[in-house]
Each structure stands twice: as C-alpha cells, then as structure tokens.
C-alpha cells in the first residue's frame, strides 16, 4: 500500500510543479492575478504531496516492506530503528526524494515570507523554483523511482526473472516475504554514524537553499527590476543556505575522521570538492551583496555570483550522483547523469543569456565607482577574487584538468592532495590577511594613516604570538604563515568587538556585558560576521596544527605490553569478542592510555564485522590540546596491532565550526526591534 500511496503522491507533486510553472509564467505575462495565485497555490501544495510521498517511503522502511527494492537495498531485519529512518537518504533514490521534499519546504517558506514584500518578483521566482523541483521530481518518477517493487517473471529466462519496476509487469508474481527478508542487504556500514545522520540533509538544505536567491535573481532579471530589492529579499535565504552547507561540510569532515580510519578529515576527493565549490562562491556572494546594498555597486558581479553558486550546486549534484567521477564517495553510476548535466547546462545558459541581455541594455550599471584601493568595498572585491581563485583552482584540479586532458590528449590527467595543497595554501593565506584587513577599512575611502592606526594593535598581538610560538619550538614559517595569519584575522575581529563595546561604555556608561550585548543587537550583521571570522580563525589554527604536526605510528604488541609515542603510552590489556544486538561480530581491544606515567583514559578500539565488510571503529581520548586516536588493525587473544595518531588541536576544527554557525545565526536572525 505504501508504494501505491507514495507513487500517487509523487505523481501529484510532479503535476502540481508543472502546473505552477505554467500558471506563474502565463499569469505574469498576462498580469492575471488569478493565474498567479493559482500557480502559487499549486506550488504550496507540492509540500503536502511530497510529505505524503516521503512519509510513505519512511513508513515502508520502518515497517520492513522489503518488496520495495529501495527498502530491500538499504535495510535488513537487523537494522536499528534510527538507521531505518536515516536509510531514507542512504542511497540515490531515497535521497533524491528528500532533495525534492526540502526544495518544496524552501519554496513554501519563501512564498510565505516574501509574497507580500516582493509580490512583483514572486510569479517568476515561483516558476524557477518549481522548474528545479519538477526536474528532480521527474528524475524520481522516471529514472530513480523509490517506489519500484521486486517482481518475479516465471516465464522469463533465468537471468531476467527478477525485476524491479514501478508498474506490475504482465504475468508477474511477488517474491515471498521470508525470501525478501533473508536477502535484504542492509545499510552501508559506513553510513551508520551520527555524522551521516545529519550530514546529507544539511548538505541538501544548503544546496536547495541557494536555489532561492538564484530564483529571485532570475525573477529580477526577467521582471527588469534590478534594484537591490531581490538582494534584500534573499539575503537571509543565502545565509540560511550558507549555514546549512557549512554544517554539512563540517559534519562530513567529522564523519570521515571518525569512520574512515585514516586520522584525517579532508582528502581533496572530487566529491568532497564538489560540495566545497558552492560554499566558496556562496561565501563570495554573501560578502559582495553588502557592497550592492550599501554602495549600489557590483550589480553585474552579484548576478554572476548567484548564478555561479546555483550552477556549482547543480554541477556538484551531478558529480556526486552521476557516478561518472571517480571518487570513494560517489553514488553508483546512474542514468540520472545525462539529464542532470543537461539541466545544469540549460539553467546556467538561460541565466547567463538573460543576464547578458540586461547588461547590454545598460540596466546593470553601478551607481558609484571604486575610489580608493584601501576602501572597504575594494578589500571586499579582493576577498571575492581570492574566493573565486580558490573556486577555479579546486574546480580545475577536480574536474577541469581530467576533462580537458581526456578531450585533448585522449588520456585522463589528475592531481593528488599535495597539488591541491600547493594551489590552495597561498590563497588561504591571502584570504586570512584580507579577513583581517577589511574590517579596519571604511566604506568609500580610507586614509593610509587611519588604516595604519587600526592595524597597530592586532599586528603587535600577532607578532607577540609568533614570537612566543617560535620560542616554544614551532618553526618560524609555520608560526608566521600558518598560525600568524589566522591569529591576525582573529585579533582584528576581537579588537573590533572590544573597541565597539568600549565606545559604548564611554558614551553611555554601560557595563561590559550590557555594552557587548547592545553592540550585537544594534548591528547583528556586522558583529555576527566577526563571530564567523573568529570561527574561521579557530578552524584555521586547528587545520594547521593537525596537518603539520600530526604524529602517526603502528606496532604489534603482546597483551600486557605497551607502545610509547611522545609522552604517551598505550598498554594492551585485553582482547574481547562480542556480538552486537544487530548481529554484527565485534573484535574489541581493551587498552589503557598513560601520559607522563599517569593513567588518562581507557579506550576500546574495535573492528565490527558486518556481512558486507569489516569496519574499524577508533578509540579516541579527546582534549582541546589534542586527540589520542587509536585504531585496532587486527590481532587475536594474545597479540594485537594498533595504529596511533596524535592530532594536535584537531578539536578546534569542530569548535571553530560551531562558532561559525553561531555567528551566522546571529547575523541572519531577524532584527529585534524594541517596542
């Protein structure tokens, strides 16, 4: 029954999305408010229809309806309840449905919040949002249908007797429940992790979220209203999408760190990079819109950025889901590849053509010109250039070089992580320096003297920090170019908050806490931005420490023996074999970790033997100073092999992520107006 309900709801949602496009476009052209409202209502109705479709699939997953081939391929009778639910995004078909549901949620929210204020842009915006939704629903309905069921064709040749189809083939019979239960495959063990419970939906929310500013931008181009209205309407949407994408990337890193067992969190894999690319252009966009709002400049550039962000989202989705990119993370090779590539190309070309048309008519002229190289708008533009350079470098290494070489040389040429690091390290250094300089400048023009005066304190603090690090044994290059640039940006952010609060204290005689709170309330966007800068500083310090100073060692020892690394030692106490509730066998090592002779932790690194594969689960003793991360590589009752990583300051990467999200929430939160 779930299959029938789900299929009907999915078909209805597809029809509603198509109708919403038609009604909105025709309604806008004929200025028919009835048609426009009808299109809006159809767009709103896609949400309940998709909620029903998704509910039907979740119901089938949780009630073990293995006749649905999707349920069969991502769960088995031993799958715990939580992972039955998260199996919704455990594979291609379910995750496409979730993508569509989230798209309809964003569309409804955008209609709800912007219908009155941006009435003239809404019909076109709804049409673009629904075009994206209809495309994904079409994929779900015609190529990757999550409601397809197993059927047996007794008369067919043996190799073609079992088929997975949406409609019941003539003469087909259903497999028995017992047979289905026995053969069900279960969720990929790599996806049974907290990070994977949240990481994919967050990433999809980020991807889907950037569709809203894109739709509004194209609506503005179509309607010819190229004032800052579309930017004001979508600023918050951009920030929400950016938060979600940031969370998705950070949680993906945490998942890799916990699950993949290599002591790292970013491997420059094409699929990881495909998710990072929209983040880079999106970050450039949320900085550069401020210049258009404040100074009426960069109108053309902002349009290019918002189109590029959407384009990067679509390309990233194609790269992840088509299976044509060689990556450890990609989905299986699928027929969705070509339609996705076509959709990406069509939407990007339509957007660029409309933009070119408006630009040639002179409708995207800036209201002011850049006056001074040290002005805030100039530094923001430089910051944009750095983000775009990062985007181009990572795109070139991940996709441009392999595709170009295949076309020109007939052989694919690729690059490894070291080359990516060669590309990005100087650009990230430039990014941190600009992140420090921009807040010290003023809009329009800044004199060199004023700029120098603002620079003194953060520069002095940075120099002192570099000196302290160099004296404590850190190499001068790492101290200056690694920690130094990150600290400089952080000190500027902290000092700006301090200066603002001090000024309030002096003029209004407020206490520190009240002054800081009032400062944030008064200018949420600016001071929220500083919190984001602090988060990026903390992440930078964590990344430098955990990559440059990581220690790694591997030894086989007998029970009772110990491995020493730095001032730590790990003693192998016991080896236990056990079985978990879900049936997997576990090989567990009981170890005690000592530091400077004193016991600090008892860990249980283990190997889980799933039917599909063994999986190493690390034991970690985490402090802010470092992670003592140990993997059980194998062994028996008496001997065991351990691989130990000491990752200095790695937890700053996650805590920096929390700060970054917190800062963005402050910046995006609706302004509290006192009564």
């Amino acid at each position: 029954m779930s299959a029938e309900i789900g299929l009907a709801a999915l078909t209805l949602a597809f029809a509603l999305a198509l109708y919403a496009i038609f009604a909105s476009v025709i309604g806008a052209r004929r200025a028919s408010s009835q048609l426009i409202l009808s299109g809006r209502n159809a767009a709103l109705l896609t949400f309940p229809a998709l909620l029903l479709a998704t509910g039907a699939l979740v119901g089938a997953l949780t009630s073990e309806q293995y006749q649905l081939s999707y349920v069969y391929s991502v769960t088995d009778p031993q799958t715990p309840a939580l992972y039955r639910f998260t199996a919704l995004w455990g594979s291609q078909r379910g995750s496409l449905l979730l993508w569509s549901l989230l798209m309809s949620v964003f569309t409804c929210a955008a209609i709800g919040l912007n219908w009155r204020s941006e009435r003239h842009l809404m019909p076109q915006a709804v049409a673009y949002m629904m075009a994206t939704l209809a495309f994904f629903l079409g994929l779900s309905l015609f190529i990757e249908n999550p409601f397809a069921r197993w059927w047996i064709l007794p008369e067919a040749p043996p190799a073609e007797q079992v088929v997975s189809t949406v409609l019941i083939p003539p003469g087909a019979i259903a497999p028995t429940d017992a047979n289905l239960r026995a053969g069900a495959e279960g969720l990929n063990p790599l996806l049974r992790h907290f990070g994977m419970v949240i990481h994919p939906p967050m990433l999809y929310l980020g991807f889907v979220g950037f569709t809203i500013p894109f739709a509004f931008a194209l609506a503005a181009l179509a309607a010819g209203d190229l004032s800052t209205g579309w930017i004001q309407a979508t600023r918050r949407w951009s920030l929400i999408a950016w938060i979600c994408l940031s969370c998705g990337l950070i949680l993906g890193g945490r998942w890799a760190y916990d699950v993949l067992g290599w002591g790292g969190y970013w491997g420059w894999d094409p699929v990881e990079n495909a998710a990072f690319l929209p983040w880079l252009v999106g970050t450039a966009f949320i900085h550069s819109v401020m210049i258009q709002e404040k100074r009426g400049m960069l109108k053309l550039w902002n349009m290019i950025l918002v189109i590029s962000t959407f384009s990067a989202v679509m390309f990233g989705t194609f790269a992840t889901r088509s299976g044509v990119i060689e990556s450890v993370h990609s989905f299986a090779r699928s027929e969705v590849g070509f339609p996705m590539l076509a959709f990406w190309a069509v939407m990007t070309l339509v957007a660029l053509a409309t933009l070119l048309w408006r630009w040639r008519r002179g409708e995207l002229r800036d209201e002011r010109q850049f006056a001074n190289l040290l002005s805030r708008e100039s530094l923001f533009v430089l910051n944009n250039v750095v983000f775009i350079a990062l985007f181009l470098a990572i795109f070139w290494g991940s996709f441009g070089l392999p595709i170009t070489s295949e076309l020109l040389l007939g052989k694919e040429v690729t690059i490894g992580p070291q080359t990516f690091e060669f590309y990005v390290v100087p650009l990230f250094i430039a990014m941190y320096i600009l992140m420090g300089l921009a807040p010290l400048s003023a809009w329009s023009a800044t004199s060199l003297r004023r700029f120098g005066a603002g620079l003194k304190a953060p520069l002095a603090l940075t120099m002192l920090s570099i000196l302290a690090l160099a004296l404590s044994g850190t190499s001068l290059i790492v101290a200056a170019l690694g920690y130094g640039v990150a600290l400089f940006a952080g000190y500027v952010a902290l000092l700006e908050i301090f200066r603002g609060a001090r000024a309030r204290r002096r003029s209004l005689d407020e206490g520190w806490l009240r002054a800081v709170t009032a400062l944030f309330r008064r200018n949420q966007r600016r001071y929220g931005g500083y919190i984001v800068h602090l988060g990026v500083t903390v992440i930078g310090i964590g990344v430098v420490a955990s990559t440059v100073f990581q220690t790694e060692t591997q030894h086989t020892i007998l029970r009772g023996e110990a491995i020493s690394v730095q001032d730590y030692s790990l003693r192998f106490d016991d080896f236990i074999r056990a079985q978990a509730v879900d049936g997997r066998l576990m090989r567990i090592a009981a170890v005690t970790v000592f530091r400077a002779g004193g016991e600090i932790a008892r860990l249980r690194p283990r190997i889980d033997d799933y039917p599909q594969m063994p999986m190493k689960i690390a034991g970690a003793h985490s402090t802010l100073e470092n992670d003592f991360y140990v993997l059980l590589m194998g062994g028996d009752g008496e001997r065991a092999t351990f691989r130990i990583y000491i990752n200095p300051l790695v937890n700053l990467v996650w805590w920096g992520g929390v700060l970054l999200v917190l800062g963005t929430v402050v910046a995006a939160y609706p302004k509290i107006v006192p009564k």
């Binding site: 007797q161 053969g183 070089l401 690059i415 594969m613």
Partner: protein, 176 residues
Amino acid sequence: MKDLSWVKPKQPQKRKRSERLKFIGVGILILLAVLYLLISGTLQGARYFITVAELLSDPTNHGRTVRISGAVDGESIEYDSEKAIIRFEIVNIPNEYDDLAAALREALMDNSAPRLKVLVEDAAIPDLLQHEAQAILTGALGRDTVFQASELLLKCPSRFEESAAPEGLSQIPEHK
C-alpha cells in the same frame, strides 16, 4: 549674508586615472599569481590516469608517477602488521564500462587479463580492501615490476550499489 550653496568639487581627472591604473595593476598581479600557481602546480603534480594494461604495455610509463585503476584480487591480499606493508594484486579493467560491479567481476574471472603486483608501505589496511573492490592507486612501477603506491583509494560497488536483480528471490518453487 554668506552663500550657503555648496557644489561637490570634481575629483581631478588625473587622480581618477591613477586609481583606475592601481586597480588594473593589482588585478593583473593577482591574475598572474593565480595562473602561476595553477600552471606550476599542474606541471609538478599532474599524473596520467591509465589502466593496468596501458601501464604494462608502454615502457615510457615505467618509473613515472601515474594513477591507475584495477580490480582487487582478494586472495592476493597480504598485510604485514609489524611493518605496516600491504601487498595485493590488481587486474586490468577497461577504460569504458557501463556497470562497474560487472566490469570488476568479469576482470577477475578473465585469466588472460593483465595483472599487477602492488605494494603500499606505511599504511593502515583500509576496510574496503577486499575482493572485487576497485583500487585507484597513485605511484610508480618499479624495476621489479611491483607498483609502489603512495596513495590508495577504494570503491566497493558490488557491496553498496543497489542490486539490479538479487539472486535467490526467484528460487522459490511454491511461487509458481
């Protein structure tokens, strides 16, 4: 009475031009720096992504850092946990295929397909290193015809792809 009208003084043309020149200069410098990064990084780090057959048949590939892909023969996997050394063999898979899982399975069943011994030093044995996995390796072929890999990535499509037609579902006589 003083005249209170005020006209914004025009910015001297010379100053405007010099500011514009500054912007163009900085832009060109950044562009050149990014181009330098991309070109020099690519020249240093680029590697051909080739098949096992292409690696073995072309002597110019020997000793050169390349990226190869092949099907892992599960029976050949050896792990020296004392020295953290992984040894295994991969079998050639063609450049073009429709179904990776089928391509890997067929490659391992083809006794005439080119095979390559692989050595990975100082590495944790990956969970996905198993029979019928696709190994993507970066490294160089040594004179001893062993491929010394510095980077090892694995994909296990037969374990994780949704089955097109699982065996066993149709093997129940009472269904007929």
